[in-house]
């Protein structure tokens, strides 16, 4: 998947801010140092990457289809395990088809009961739910960042995001938004208000566009199910 090209964004931002004025390079990724407000190329780079981080967080938090690129899977977890720290909602819970964590195990989506108490009850009284473990395995529930499951092992897909201060991570389709965002972030005392207002609006529009497709995560579905 192509991500935003930071060099191209940097060139655009430098040009919009007139940070590399003529004579010299007029479409450059680096500032000339002659424009008083924008004397550091790093400052512009960091602004772009901050906007990129904000976009990535939006993608992750809303469940946008681009969230897939950030999804990783936990190591096999036993019941009542803490889920690794992360931003955004947890994704799918999976259980192994043969109750093992071997390489040959196939991980299938877990079933969600009516409440966490169903899992607790199965674990307390397994014979009420069948003669073998197979009868009641495959169920899982997330609560307070812990997972409980009727299977010996489960694993959870979750978004893992680590800010990067050299390259962008958001999808290339968001490049125009990053240009506007970086310009908006670089507003300084005495800057041209009209120019920054325009880019602030474009930036806000892009973020709103991402958030418009917000999805409901499994953990919220579980909460809704419990009170239904």
């Amino acid at each position: 998947m192509a991500v935003v090209d930071i060099t191209r964004v940097q060139q655009r931002v430098v040009a919009i801010l007139n940070a590399a004025p003529p004579p010299g390079a007029t479409f450059s990724a680096t500032v000339s140092g002659k424009q008083g407000r924008y004397r550091s190329t790093e400052e512009i780079q960091y602004a772009i990457l901050e906007v990129d981080n904000a976009f990535c967080r939006d993608l992750i938090i809303t469940g946008h289809p681009y969230r897939s690129q950030f999804m990783v899977v936990t190591d096999p977890l036993t019941t009542n395990s803490l889920i690794p720290a992360h931003i955004g909602g947890q994704g799918m819970i999976e259980v192994s088809d043969d109750d093992s964590v071997s390489d040959s195990a196939v991980w299938l989506p877990a079933l969600t009961p009516k409440s966490q108490d169903d899992i607790t009850t199965v674990l307390a009284f397994p014979t009420n739910y069948g003669l073998t473990v197979a009868d009641s395995k495959g169920w899982a529930w997330i609560s307070d960042n812990r997972v409980v499951t009727t299977s010996p092992y489960c694993r959870i897909r979750y978004p893992q995001f680590t800010p990067n201060y050299t390259t962008c991570q958001a999808d290339a389709s968001l490049e125009d938004g990053e240009v506007s965002g970086a310009v908006a972030e670089l507003f300084k005392d005495g800057s041209d208000g009209g120019l920054f207002d325009r880019h602030r609006q474009l930036y806000a529009d892009t973020r709103a566009e991402i958030r418009a497709g917000a999805e409901v995560f499994p953990s919220l579905q579980m909460a809704e199910r419990q009170v239904a």
Binding site: L111, T112, P113, K114, D118, V122, N128, Y129, G130, L131, T132, A134, D135, S136, W139, Q221, R225, A228
Partner: protein
């Protein structure tokens, strides 16, 4: 014999009730009691009863002092004491099954045919047996009597009856088993 699992039954029951998958575990918990209900219902019906009669070759109990303690058969073979008289009990000395005796005088006063037929009666969980001429019997009794099947013992023909029994139990439960149909699965 049925190859259905508790999980499969739970799923069939919740579908019959138009409930979401999330309720399957709760439906599974009904299977054990539904088997008991099914066993009771079938024991009461002379035709259906034949499906759930214990195997006389393996359902046996030893007589000691003219009586047999049925505790083990109740617990392990799940014979139904209340329907025992609807089954057959054999003693190896006789080709015909023992005759059932009942009444307040059983075992105390000789009945009109007690000298002709081997007979038996129940006192609590003890089965008393006497032969012809009122001889106290010893040895081993074989029972073909109504019992509560396990899921593995359930004849395939009774699978639908089991689902019906589960559905009946679910409908008797005044909680959220019967939540609004159409709840998101």
């Amino acid at each position: 014999m049925s190859s259905l699992s508790y999980a499969a039954i739970g799923d069939l029951v919740r579908q019959r009730l138009n409930l979401p998958v999330s309720t399957r575990l709760r439906m599974q918990s009904l299977v054990g009691n539904a088997l008991q209900r099914l066993g009771n219902q079938f024991a009461q019906n002379p035709y259906n009863r034949q499906y759930l009669l214990s195997d006389r070759a393996t359902t046996t109990v030893a007589l000691a002092g003219g009586k047999a303690d049925l505790t083990t058969l109740i617990n392990t073979s799940q014979i139904e004491l209340e329907y025992l008289m609807f089954g057959y009990i054999w003693h190896p000395s006789y080709t015909s099954p023992l005759q059932w005796k009942r009444g307040p005088d059983i075992g105390a006063i000789q009945g009109p045919f007690d000298g002709v037929f081997p007979h038996c009666w129940l006192e609590g969980i003890h089965l008393y047996a006497k032969g012809t001429n009122n001889a106290v019997l010893s040895g081993t009794l074989s029972l073909a009597c109504p019992y509560i099947p396990t899921l593995a013992q359930l004849p395939t023909q009774l699978e639908n009856d089991l689902i019906d029994a589960c559905v009946g139990l679910a409908r008797e439960t005044p909680d959220d088993y019967m939540e609004t149909p159409g709840h998101p699965a």
